[in-house]
């Protein structure tokens, strides 16, 4: 965990209001898939707070991380202004990330993502694929215009796509694709809006080994000091930023 200025080495709009930004810091701290960074999008007080964004790609050799974010609010709109060569202040890596180590070669892992919950699943899919894990992904989008990374996932995973209006993939949400996965599932990883996570938690009995969900909560510090981001778990209140964002489907109370 450290705070440092990262240099923007690439930044583009890859779908409607969806941006991909690649940031370099050499040496790059050790990032784990599923962790996030807390980004200061500007050096003034507007906006004041950092923005939590998941790490979508980690390139150790290149000393870069890639984030994928949806612009819309004050902070993310501001972030879109950053140009190659500019710096962005990054606090991270934060959170626990996905426990990839336990997933064995030959296991079947299903990754379910909705909207801007998809980014952290990409690095996860990549790492699982490298470990010889069979990866299936369900990617849920609002519509075709806001869809991204479908081709990238296709290279390393079986991909089901859903969209609310059917303009890409199956019409409906990720639940429409779930029954289509016929092979036994060993692991389930999910990240996205709360209703989606609830569905995933409800599927956990169909999963042979373990199911994990990554939560979102409004944050202050991002490091466990302010208690803004608590969630209820079977072990009592936990902090999404430092105890999570990844929890087991068993422990979270959504």
């Amino acid at each position: 965990m450290m705070v440092a200025d990262y240099q923007v080495v690439a930044h583009e709009e890859i779908a409607k209001n969806i941006y991909e930004i690649t940031l370099r810091h050499d040496p790059l701290p050790a990032f784990v898939a599923g962790q996030f960074v807390h980004v200061k999008v500007d050096d003034t007080s507007s906006p004041l707070l950092r923005r939590p964004l998941s790490v979508a790609r980690i390139d150790v050799e290149d000393a870069t991380i890639t984030l994928i974010y949806r612009s819309g609010g004050l902070g993310t709109n501001r972030l879109t202004k950053k140009q190659v060569g500019d710096t962005v202040n990054v606090l991270g890596p934060l959170g626990n990330g996905f426990m990839v180590d336990q997933v064995g070669s030959g296991d079947h892992a299903v990754l379910v993502g909705g909207g801007v919950g998809i980014p952290p699943l990409y690095e996860l899919a990549k790492q699982l694929n490298e470990r010889g894990v069979r990866v299936t992904t369900i990617l849920g989008f609002q519509d075709k215009d806001t869809s991204f990374y479908v081709r990238a996932f296709s290279k390393i995973a079986d991909v089901y796509v859903t969209s609310d209006d059917g303009s890409i993939g199956i019409e409906g949400n990720v639940s429409s694709a779930w029954p289509l996965i016929k092979d036994p599932i060993d692991w389930l990883f999910a990240c996205g809006p709360k209703p989606m996570l609830k569905a995933c938690v409800s599927w956990r009995n169909q999963v042979r080994k373990a199911s994990f969900v990554s939560l979102e909560e409004r944050m202050g510090c991002g490091i466990g000091a302010c208690l803004a981001c608590v969630c209820e778990t079977t072990q009592g209140q936990r902090k999404v930023c430092s105890d999570g964002p990844v929890f087991t489907a068993e422990e979270v109370c959504l």
Partner: protein, 309 residues
């Protein structure tokens, strides 16, 4: 000679900078960024007699140059704090100030009596912005007489310095400050957050699950400066100033207004290194002013120069 050394309410701090209560938990998180012994003091999260779950989430909302929080005093309660948390702070070579909260005077007494015997604790800070259940929900901090009585009763059971943290949501803060001084407080902390609210224009729902919350950050700084300026001229106990401090220039502004020490809250979330950075930058401000000790600048905006030089 340590030019930043600060004497306040009988404590000697190596510098006037400390994190503000509730923004630093019990310190361990920021320890990953720097050695906490650099700090003038550490002010930890509010402690209540019993465990508190706090409010539902969302607990924070952003506003222009500020944030609203409604954490709701979540804390593991006096037992756990005393047994499990404070021992970890005992080895620190800096003062630990524990923030105390409660719903009735007895709550404050219980926590104060117990903590004042803990070697790890250097001072107490009474958070009197909490609603007073016995007096019907009005906060202790809005009525001078209630604030005085609370201070007196806590002082009676405390062997260590007691700071009282004033709420800015009052018509006449000087009156409350004087009452608290009369009650025997060793110092004041000011200001706590301004009551505020944000509503999502798309849904009509308050952004905070709790509806309203406390505004902090740079937005409130002019209010804090005004109150410290007014109060410091009317009381003779020292003030820990806070409210929007982000830089050494801000800290100097608070000190010139009349604060003897300065706490940094929200800015820690923006820049985890803000406290050591401010401490690092202070000496050059002393050079600019041509003073040997930071204490010479306390209240300089209203004290005539000759009085302090």
């Amino acid at each position: 000679m340590n030019r930043l050394q600060t004497e306040i309410a009988g404590m000697t701090l190596k510098n006037p900078i400390m994190p503000a209560s509730g923004c630093f938990a019990f310190g361990s998180e920021y320890n990953a960024f720097y050695d906490l012994n650099q700090l003038g003091a550490i002010c930890v999260k509010a402690v209540t007699p019993e465990e508190r779950k706090g409010n539902p989430t969302p607990r924070v909302a952003e506003s222009e140059a500020g944030m609203l929080n409604a954490i709701g005093l979540q804390n593991p309660g006096l037992e756990v704090v005393t047994n499990d948390i404070l021992p970890k702070l005992a080895s620190l070579n800096t003062s630990v100030i524990v923030n105390v909260a409660g719903k009735q005077i007895e709550d404050y007494e219980i926590v104060a009596a117990r903590l004042s015997n803990e070697p790890a604790v250097s001072a107490l800070e009474l958070n009197i912005s909490c609603p007073n259940v016995k007096e019907g929900g009005m906060s202790f901090g809005t009525d001078p007489e209630t604030a005085r009585v609370l201070t007196e009763r806590v002082k009676a059971v405390s062997d260590i310095p007691v700071f009282v943290k004033l709420s800015p949501n009052v018509t006449d803060i000087v009156n409350i400050a004087k009452a608290v001084e009369k009650g025997g407080a060793d110092g004041l902390s000011m200001i706590n957050t301004l009551l505020g609210m944000r509503i999502d224009p798309k849904t009509g729902e308050p952004i905070l699950a709790n509806g309203q919350g406390g505004l902090s950050g740079p937005a409130v700084k002019p209010v804090a400066i005004r109150m410290i300026y007014d109060v410091s001229q009317q009381v003779s106990i020292p003030i820990i100033g806070m409210g929007g401090v982000q830089s050494a220039a801000d800290a100097i502004e608070f000190i010139l207004a009349g604060a003897s020490a300065v706490a940094v809250g929200t800015a820690n979330f923006v820049n985890p290194l803000v406290c050591p950075e401010i401490i690092h930058d202070l000496p050059s401000w002393l050079d600019e002013w041509g003073v040997d000790s930071v204490q010479e600048l306390v209240g300089r905006s209203w004290k005539s120069c000759s009085a302090t030089l």
